[in-house]
C-alpha cells in the first residue's frame, strides 16, 4: 500500500495553516452565485456534442421550414421573406432549448449528488439558483451568437444596435426559461422523466409564442393561449427590434409583426420586457422555495 505511506510522510511535514473565512454577507453570496455561473460555463464548453446538437434544430427551422414555407407565405406580401420573419423566432427557439436544458440539468445534479454539495453550503439557495439561471442564460446567449452571424443570409441587416439589443433580449428570455427549468427540476426526481418533461413544456411554449407564425388574424382561442404564454412577451420585442431595422411598408409589418393587444391596448415593447423580468423573478422565487423546502 504505497500511497498510504506517502500520505503519512507528507502529512507529517505539513504545517497547519487554517484558511481565514471572512464574515458572511452579500459579497459571499455573490461569490457563490458567480462560481455556480462559472461551473455552467465550464461544463458547457466541455460538452461539444451539446453545443453542436442544440444548433441543429434552429438551423433546420430557419432553412428548411423557412425556405419551404416562404414560397407560399410571401406571396402577396412581397417585401419580406418568410425566413426574415422567422429569424427572431428561431433565435428564441434555440435559446429556449439550451436554457430549458440548463435548468432541468438540476435533476442530474441531484442524481449525482452535486446538488447536495451546493445546498449544504453556508449560502442561500437564492444565490445558488440565481447563479444557475445566469449560467443557463449566458450559455444559451453564447450559443445564439452563432445564429446571429447568419442574419445577413436571411435578409436581416447587421446593425450593431439591433444585434446588441437582440443579445440583451435573448439573455433575459434565457434567464426566464432557465428559471422555469429549475421549477420543473424541483419537482422531477427521476432522470428518465426529465427530458420528456422538457419536451412537454417546450413544444407548446414555442408553438404558442408567435416564434414560428405571425400572431395576426388568429382565432380567439389561440390568441388567448398566446397571451398566456410568457414566451410571447419574450419573442415579440425581438421581432419588433428586427422589423425596426427593415425597410417594410406598414401593411406588411402589421401582418408579420402585429404586436400584442390586450383588449385593444397595444402593449408597448418596454412593458413586455418588464413583464419578462417580473416572470423571471417569480419563477426564480418559486424554484428557491421548492428547492429550499424539499432537498
Amino acid at each position: 500500500m504505497a500511497p498510504v505511506t506517502v500520505a503519512a510522510v507528507t502529512v507529517a511535514a505539513v504545517t497547519v495553516a487554517a484558511v481565514r473565512v471572512p464574515a458572511m454577507g452579500l459579497r459571499h453570496e455573490a461569490r457563490a452565485a458567480f462560481v455556480v455561473w462559472q461551473r455552467e460555463l465550464i461544463r458547457f464548453l466541455k460538452d461539444r456534442a451539446r453545443m453542436v446538437s442544440s444548433l441543429v434544430q434552429p438551423i433546420l427551422f430557419l432553412f428548411v421550414l423557412g425556405v419551404g414555407l416562404s414560397s407560399i407565405v410571401s406571396a402577396g406580401h412581397g417585401s419580406v421573406d418568410f425566413k426574415t420573419f422567422l429569424f427572431p423566432g428561431v433565435l428564441a427557439t434555440s435559446v429556449l432549448f439550451t436554457a430549458a436544458f440548463s435548468g432541468i440539468s438540476m435533476v442530474w445534479d441531484r442524481e449525482f449528488g452535486f446538488l447536495r454539495e451546493m445546498l449544504v453550503a453556508p449560502v442561500s439557495t437564492t444565490a445558488i439558483l440565481t447563479g444557475k439561471c445566469a449560467g443557463g442564460a449566458t450559455v444559451a446567449t453564447l450559443q445564439s451568437l452563432v445564429l446571429l452571424t447568419l442574419a445577413g443570409v436571411v435578409g436581416v441587416p447587421y446593425s450593431p444596435v439591433m444585434l446588441l439589443t437582440l443579445v440583451g433580449l435573448l439573455f433575459l428570455m434565457a434567464f426566464m426559461i432557465t428559471a422555469l427549468g429549475l421549477v420543473l427540476a424541483a419537482r422531477i426526481k427521476q432522470v428518465q422523466s426529465a427530458m420528456p418533461a422538457v419536451q412537454l413544456i417546450i413544444t407548446p411554449l414555442i408553438f404558442l409564442s408567435g416564434a414560428l407564425f405571425p400572431l395576426s388574424g388568429l382565432p380567439a382561442w389561440l390568441t388567448v393561449l398566446t397571451h398566456l404564454n410568457p414566451m410571447t412577451y419574450a419573442v415579440e420585442p425581438m421581432r419588433s427590434v428586427v422589423f425596426d431595422h427593415l425597410q417594410v411598408d406598414p401593411a406588411t409589418r402589421a401582418t408579420f409583426d402585429p404586436g400584442i393587444f390586450w383588449n385593444h391596448w397595444h402593449v408597448p415593447v418596454g412593458v413586455q420586457v418588464v413583464l419578462v423580468i417580473a416572470i423571471s423573478a417569480v419563477l426564480l422565487a418559486v424554484a428557491v422555495a421548492r428547492f429550499a423546502r424539499t432537498e
Binding site: A12, V16, A32, I42, R43, D109, G113
Partner: protein, 340 residues
C-alpha cells in the same frame, strides 16, 4: 480566527471550550419510523468519535440532524458551539461533510471541485490556492488534480471528498460511512488518511460506520441500535466491560496444566479444540504469571481480546449482521423522503 488569535488563546486558557458536539434528548420521528429515540452525547474538541451500529439504527438520521439537513422532532444539538436549529448557517460554516453518497461533479477536475467548494464556503482567496494544494497533497491526489473526476477510482473520489470536506478548515468533520462500498485495502487507506489528518489538523472527527473493526481507530465510540445509544466509551473500555480475554495455551501436559492453573493461579480451564482455554480479565498481563507459575512447559500462547462485535452482542443480544438482516434495513434516502 487568525493564527495570532489562536496563540493568544493558548497563552490565556480561558473557560473550557464548548464541546464539539453536544446532543440532549434528541428525538426524530418520521411518519412511520421512530428513527432516533432520545439520545444524549458529548464529543470533545479534537476527539475522533465513532458512531456505530447496523444499517437503520438511526446513525444517518442523527448525523443529518447534526449537519442541519434534517430537523429534530425534539431535543437540542449544538455543533462547534452553535445550535443546529437556530444557527444553521454558522453550523454549516464550521463543519465539513463527507456523505455516503458521492457529491462530486465528475465532469470537473479534482481541483475545480475544490475551487468550487472554496468559493461556496467563502474561503479567503489569498490563502485558497495554498490550502487546495495542501489538502490535495494530504490525500495523495496532487498529481491527479487536473484530471476530470470521472477518471478517478472509487477510493480516489472518496479521498477527494475528504479533502474537500477539510478545505474550509472546519472545526468538526462529519463522515457518514466514508468507507462503505470500498474494498478492504481502500478502506484501510482511507483510515490511514483520517489518522494522518488527525495529527495535522485541529479537528474533531465524527464518523459513522457499520464496520465494527473500523471503530478501533476511534478515541471513543457510541454504539447505536434501534434509535438509542446502547454503549458509549473508549473501544478498550467497552470491550473490557463486556468480559474477559480468552487465553489459549498448548502445553506438554494438558491435564497437569489444568491442575496447575486451578491450584496456583486460581483459574478454571478446559480443553477446547486441542488447546487449554480459559478466561481472564487482562490476558496480556496474565501471560508472565503463566510462565512464572504454571510449572508445565508451554508451547504456545494465544490471547484473544473481546471484539466490538462481542460488545454489540452484549448490549443488544444480537450480532450486527443479524440486526441488519432483521432490523428493517432502511435506505437513508427513503427515510429522508418520508420525512418530507
Amino acid at each position: 480566527m487568525t493564527e495570532v488569535d489562536m496563540a493568544a488563546m493558548d497563552r490565556h486558557p480561558g473557560p473550557v471550550p464548548p464541546p464539539a458536539v453536544q446532543v440532549r434528548g434528541l428525538v426524530k420521528h418520521y411518519a412511520e419510523v421512530e428513527a432516533v429515540r432520545g439520545i444524549d452525547l458529548d464529543v470533545s474538541p479534537g476527539e475522533t468519535f465513532g458512531f456505530l451500529g447496523p444499517n437503520g439504527a438511526g446513525k444517518s438520521t442523527t448525523i443529518k440532524i447534526l449537519c442541519t439537513l434534517v430537523e429534530a422532532t425534539r431535543g437540542t444539538a449544538r455543533v462547534a458551539g452553535f445550535d443546529v436549529a437556530t444557527e444553521r448557517v454558522a453550523v454549516r460554516r464550521h463543519i465539513g461533510l463527507v456523505f455516503q453518497e458521492p457529491t462530486l461533479d465528475t465532469y470537473l477536475t479534482g481541483e475545480q471541485n475544490l475551487r468550487f467548494h472554496g468559493e461556496l464556503y467563502g474561503v479567503d482567496r489569498s490563502g485558497a490556492a495554498a490550502r487546495r494544494a495542501e489538502v490535495l497533497r494530504m490525500v495523495g491526489l496532487w498529481e491527479r488534480r487536473g484530471d476530470a473526476v470521472q477518471t478517478y477510482s472509487g477510493g480516489m473520489r472518496r479521498r477527494l471528498e475528504i479533502a474537500r470536506g477539510l478545505l474550509h478548515s472546519p472545526k468538526v468533520l462529519f463522515l457518514d460511512e466514508p468507507t462503505i462500498g470500498l474494498d478492504p485495502q481502500t478502506r484501510a487507506s482511507i483510515w490511514e488518511y483520517l489518522r494522518a489528518l488527525h495529527r495535522s489538523e485541529e479537528i474533531t472527527v465524527f464518523v459513522t460506520t457499520h464496520y465494527m473493526d473500523e471503530a478501533e481507530h476511534c478515541d471513543r465510540i457510541a454504539i447505536m441500535n434501534e434509535g438509542r445509544i446502547v454503549a458509549l466509551g473508549t473501544p478498550e473500555r467497552l470491550k473490557a466491560a463486556v468480559g474477559k480475554d480468552r487465553v489459549q495455551i498448548t502445553t506438554e501436559d494438558d491435564p497437569a496444566a489444568i491442575r496447575a492453573l486451578r491450584a496456583h493461579l486460581g483459574v478454571e480451564a478446559a480443553v477446547h479444540e486441542g488447546a487449554v482455554s480459559f478466561a481472564v480479565t487482562d490476558g496480556a498481563s496474565f501471560v508472565p504469571l503463566l510462565f512464572a507459575g504454571l510449572g508445565v512447559p508451554i508451547r504456545s500462547v494465544t490471547v484473544n481480546r473481546p471484539s466490538l462485535d462481542d460488545v454489540f452482542l452484549a448490549h443488544t443480544g444480537t450480532t450486527i449482521r443479524d440486526a441488519e438482516k432483521s432490523g428493517g434495513r432502511m435506505n437513508p434516502m427513503a427515510v429522508l423522503a418520508r420525512g418530507r
